[in-house]
C-alpha cells in the first residue's frame, strides 16, 4: 500500500511535468485543426500574400498581408524605440547607478511591467493620441506610431530586466581587469561588459519583440484598425492580434472567416514560437 502511494505520487509529479509539452501541442493542434481547413477553399498563397482583408465580402477576401505588415510596422517602431532606451537603462541600472538607486529603479521597472495592457491602451487613447495628432497635424491620433510608442513602453521593462540580469552576471574580475589596465568606465562597458553579456542582450531583444508582436488590447485601442496596406508609420494600421480580438466574437462557426481567424492565430503562434526558439538558442550559446 505504501509502495503504491509512493508510486502514485511520483507518477503524478511526472504527469504534471509533461503538462507544458501537452499544452503547447494542444494549442497547436486546436489552431491547426480549424486553421488549416481554410486551405481547402483558399490557397495558402492568397492567404499569406493577398492584399485584401475583407472576410465579410462576397466572396470573402482573406489576404493577411495588410495585417502582417501592420503588425510588422508597429513592432519595428516599438523595437527601434525600446531597444536603445532599454539597453541604456539596463547599463545604467546594472553598471553605473549606486546601490540604492539601483534597487529603486529595479522596483520601478517591475511596477512598470505590472501595468496591464488595457490600462496602457486607455491612457494612450486619451494622452498619447492627441499628442501624436497635433504634433504631425494628422486627421486622427490613432496611428501605427501611437501603437509603437505605447508598445515600446510595454517592452522596455522586459528588455531592461533580462538585459540587466545578463550585465550583472558578467564576472566582476573582467571589469576589474579592464579598469586596472586604465580603461575608462565607458570603455569597460562598451568593450568588455557588453560583449561578455551579448547573448543575454540578444535574448532580451528577442523576448521584447515577442511581447510586442503578441500584444493585443493596447494595439487594438491605439492603431486605428484600418486594414489597408500601410505606407507610412503615421497612418492607421491593423495588426493580426487586433483582428482576431475584434472579429472572433462575431463570426459564424464553420465559415471561411472563422477558419481564417484560426489560421491567423496559427501564424501568430508559429511566429512567436520561432522568436522563442531564437532567444533560447542565444541563451544556450552563452552556457557553452
Amino acid at each position: 500500500m505504501r509502495r503504491f502511494k509512493e508510486f502514485l505520487i511520483e507518477k503524478i509529479i511526472l504527469l504534471n511535468g509533461f503538462a507544458c509539452i501537452l499544452f503547447v501541442i494542444l494549442i497547436f493542434f486546436f489552431l491547426a485543426k480549424d486553421g488549416l481547413t481554410l486551405f481547402k477553399t483558399v490557397s495558402p498563397w492568397h492567404f499569406l500574400f493577398g492584399t485584401l482583408w475583407n472576410p465579410l465580402a462576397e466572396p470573402p477576401q482573406v489576404g493577411i498581408l495588410p495585417l502582417f505588415l501592420g503588425s510588422l510596422i508597429v513592432t519595428l517602431g516599438a523595437t527601434v524605440i525600446s531597444v536603445p532606451l532599454g539597453m541604456a537603462c539596463a547599463i545604467f541600472i546594472g553598471e553605473i547607478a549606486p546601490r540604492w538607486i539601483r534597487e529603486l529603479l529595479k522596483a520601478g521597472v517591475e511596477l512598470l511591467a505590472a501595468i496591464p495592457s488595457i490600462v496602457i491602451g486607455f491612457i494612450g487613447m486619451t494622452m498619447l493620441g492627441p499628442i501624436v495628432k497635433n504634433l504631425f497635424h494628422l486627421p486622427t491620433g490613432l496611428t501605427a506610431l501611437t501603437g509603437s510608442l505605447a508598445l515600446a513602453f510595454m517592452a522596455i521593462p522586459t528588455i531592461v530586466s533580462i538585459m540587466e540580469d545578463a550585465i550583472s552576471s558578467v564576472p566582476r574580475s573582467y571589469k576589474e581587469g579592464s579598469l586596472a589596465l586604465g580603461a575608462t568606465h565607458w570603455q569597460t562597458i562598451h568593450r568588455v561588459i557588453i560583449p561578455a553579456a551579448s547573448s543575454g542582450i540578444v535574448a532580451a531583444v528577442m523576448l521584447g519583440i515577442g511581447r510586442v508582436i503578441g500584444e493585443t488590447m493596447a494595439v487594438m485601442m491605439l492603431t486605428g484598425n484600418a486594414s489597408v496596406l500601410p505606407k507610412t508609420i503615421l497612418e492607421p494600421v491593423r495588426t493580426m492580434t487586433a483582428t482576431i480580438a475584434a472579429e472572433m466574437g462575431e463570426t459564424v462557426r464553420g465559415s471561411e472567416h472563422y477558419f481564417a481567424l484560426f489560421a491567423l492565430g496559427l501564424v501568430l503562434f508559429v511566429i512567436t514560437f520561432f522568436i522563442n526558439l531564437a532567444a533560447d538558442a542565444a541563451l544556450h550559446q552563452k552556457q557553452k
Binding site: E10, C20, F23, A114, F122, I123, H185, W186, G214, N276
Partner: protein, 284 residues
C-alpha cells in the same frame, strides 16, 4: 598622449550621461502614468463603485461590483487548477527530470510564456466555449490558468534547486522515501519562494483582457453559475473606455485605478513574503 586621455574621459562622461538620461526618460512616463491615473480615477472611486451594478446607458452612477467579484473569482478558479500543475511541473524539473526531457519541458514552458494572450483566448474558445455552446466562467478561468502555468514552473524549479542538498540527504538517511522527502521536506522548505512566484503569476493575469474577450465575455449583471458569462474588471474597463459616454470613461478610470491597486497589492505581498524569508534565512 594627454589629448587622447582627455578625449576618452570626455567620451566616458558623455556616454554615462546618456545612459542616465535614458533611464530618466524611461522612468518619467511611469510616474506620469501613476499621477494621471490617480488624478483621473480617484474622484470616481466611491462606495457605490464597489457595491453597485453598472447602470443602463444614459443613467449616471452605478459601479463595478460584479466586475470586481468576477475578476477575483476568475483568478481564484484559474489558480485552483493552474497552481498545482505549475508547482508539480517545477518539482519534476528540479528533482526528477532527466536532462533531455527537462530541456524540452523548459523550452515548452518558455514557448507557452511567449504565446500571445489572444491566441490563448482563441484556444480556450475552441476547447471550451464551442463544445459547451456558451461563454462561461469556467472557460475564462481555464484561459487565465494557461497563462499562469509557465510563470510558475520556472521560478518553482529555481526555488527548489536552492534547497540545500544536505536536507534531502538527511531525510533520505533516516529512511523517509523519496516522494515523501520531496513533498514534506523539499517543497516545504521552498514554500515561501514558490508562494512568491504564484502571487507574481496572479498579478500577471489579473489584468489580462485578451484571453477573456471570448471566454468570460463580460456580463452587466451578476452571474449565477459557472457556465454563464461573467464580468471581469479588465473587460469592463475596455468596453467603457471605447464607449463614447463621459460617465463611462469616468468609471473606466476608476476601474483602471482599482485594477492597478489590486495588482500592486499582490506584488507587494509577494515582496513581503520574500523579505520575511530572507530574514529567516539569515537567522540560522
Amino acid at each position: 598622449m594627454k589629448t587622447v586621455n582627455r578625449k576618452r574621459k570626455i567620451i566616458n562622461f558623455i556616454m554615462v550621461s546618456i545612459a542616465l538620461l535614458c533611464a530618466i526618460v524611461t522612468l518619467i512616463p511611469l510616474f506620469n502614468i501613476f499621477l494621471y491615473l490617480i488624478s483621473k480615477g480617484i474622484t470616481s472611486v466611491n462606495l457605490d463603485f464597489f457595491t453597485h451594478l453598472p447602470k443602463p446607458v444614459g443613467e449616471a452612477g452605478g459601479g463595478m461590483a460584479n466586475a470586481i467579484t468576477g475578476t477575483l473569482l476568475l483568478i481564484a478558479l484559474a489558480s485552483l487548477w493552474a497552481v498545482p500543475i505549475g508547482v508539480f511541473a517545477g518539482v519534476y524539473l528540479a528533482e526528477f527530470g532527466d536532462y533531455k526531457i527537462a530541456t524540452i519541458i523548459r523550452f515548452t514552458a518558455d514557448v507557452l510564456t511567449g504565446v500571445p494572450s489572444i491566441v490563448i483566448g482563441v484556444f480556450a474558445y475552441a476547447l471550451f466555449v464551442l463544445p459547451m455552446k456558451s461563454f462561461s466562467v469556467l472557460s475564462g478561468a481555464f484561459a487565465l490558468g494557461f497563462m499562469m502555468i509557465p510563470s510558475i514552473v520556472r521560478p518553482t524549479e529555481e526555488m527548489i534547486k536552492r534547497v540545500p542538498h544536505t536536507l534531502r540527504e538527511a531525510a533520505l538517511a533516516v529512511g523517509i522515501s523519496r516522494a515523501k522527502t520531496t513533498i514534506h521536506i523539499v517543497l516545504r522548505t521552498a514554500m515561501p519562494g514558490i508562494l512568491t512566484a504564484v502571487l507574481l503569476a496572479l498579478a500577471r493575469i489579473a489584468g489580462e483582457t485578451a484571453p477573456l474577450l471570448f471566454t468570460a465575455f463580460g456580463n452587466r449583471f451578476w452571474s449565477h453559475s459557472l457556465t454563464e458569462p461573467i464580468a471581469a474588471l479588465p473587460l469592463q474597463i475596455f468596453s467603457y473606455a471605447i464607449a463614447p459616454y463621459d460617465d463611462w470613461h469616468r468609471q473606466a478610470w476608476a476601474g483602471a485605478l482599482v485594477l492597478i491597486a489590486l495588482i500592486f497589492l499582490i506584488t507587494l505581498i509577494s515582496r513581503l513574503i520574500l523579505a520575511a524569508k530572507f530574514k529567516y534565512r539569515t537567522a540560522y
